[in-house]
Amino acid sequence: MTKKYAVLPCNGLDKCAGQMAREIALTVCEKTDSQLICPVFYRVADARYNKIANENPLLVIDGCATRCASKLAAEKNLKIYRKMTVTDETQKHGVTLAIEPLRLWEDEINLCAALAAELIKEEDVAESMAAAVIYPVPGDYLIHTKDKFMFRIPPEGFYFTENDCWVQPVGNRARIGVADYVQQSLSDIMFFTPPPVGVEVEQFGEAGAIESGKAVFELVCPVSGKIVAINKELLNSPEKINENPYEQGWIAELELTNFDEEKDFLLDADGYLQVLKRKVDEFHVNQRKG
């Protein structure tokens, strides 16, 4: 399958990570039908790029934590389909970036090629690995209210972590996501960074992230397994997590590897309700003190 992105990279001039962002963007554009958006030009005169940005899935490639490209996307009110931050990737791959030189060396160029290949290939893997599993929709919810807030917990079929993430196992597959408490705490969710399809995740390892104007929340995976699919709907509509994090707001699907043993480290609905009540009370007390 040929991917076609609108690629919005970091401007990438005075830092190695920025140069890499640009290199990745160019490679993706060269190897697919994707179109490049010049971030500076887009900011000062957007007419040239509006059509490209609005009609194609948007790939944002940030160089460093300043995240100029992401901020520009938010400023233009664009939905981000896929996001990558080079400094995060270099840490993950054990590559140390040069502080001064503005040119890329062999290690950096090789990593750029690998990351670009990942961006181009990822969805092919997802298509082939996803299989039809029917996940029961919760019929009703346990409700906990505090002031104007109402928190829902599906009573059956879901297990939780104390970090407010859930898993819904069906056979050797499972969906994972975040609890109502997370989406209410974050408020309007703007970005969704899915876990890479095909990777093995350990129990309590990281499995993607969601981000609002308030904070970034890294999903703590309740179980170990291989990511076989992600919720593509969230790439264009991350607000579905706000609407219902247990149904249309699921994050990813895994092939389970050790659920029977790992279940002992998880909470059922009643157990999680106690944790939730404690957190909400503590938050309430802190708010009053503040």
Binding site: P9, C10, N11, G12, L13, D14, K15, G18, R22, A25, L26, C29, E30, L36, I37, C38, P39, V40, F41, R43, V44, A45, T66, C68, K71, L72, P101, L102, R103
Partner: protein
């Protein structure tokens, strides 16, 4: 300017067009190889997004801008935040002196392209030296 102050060489973003890429490469060659002790560059995205550190680094400071196309993103953006623009280079103007040259694409320069980049970088180098001399 003080003797120790570096001249800011700020190219257009250099994405999507060959002349932009040439502006970018000429800036990198100048600040990285020809006169790293007298010139430094800055990411234009910081300038246009109103980054406080970028503004402080440019406001009232000697700058050279290099633009790829007539939109003049670099010159306009640097001027808006008060950069003391000593020279506005336009790759397009320089290309007029090289009629028929094929500089390459938005992602890769040809031998022609690199030759012209070297020429631009040499001009930039010379101008940086002059500006630095004025500060003494």
């Amino acid at each position: 300017m003080s003797i120790n102050e570096k001249v800011k060489v700020i190219p257009c973003s250099g994405m999507g067009k060959v002349f932009g890429l040439m502006a970018r490469e000429a800036a990198l060659r100048t600040v990285g190889q020809l006169c790293p002790d007298k010139a430094e560059t800055m990411c234009l995205a910081y300038v246009v997004t109103g980054d406080a550190e970028a503004e402080a680094g440019i406001d009232g400071k000697p700058c050279i801008t290099i633009d790829g196309c007539p939109k003049m993103c670099s010159a306009k953006s640097v001027a808006i935040i008060g950069g003391d623009i000593k020279e506005e280079f336009k790759v397009l103007d320089i290309m007029k002196e090289h009629k028929g040259a094929q500089p390459g694409t938005a992602t890769e320069l040809t031998t022609d392209g690199w030759t012209i980049v070297d020429k631009i970088a040499a001009t930039l180098h010379e101008r940086v030296q002059q500006i630095h001399g004025e500060g003494r």
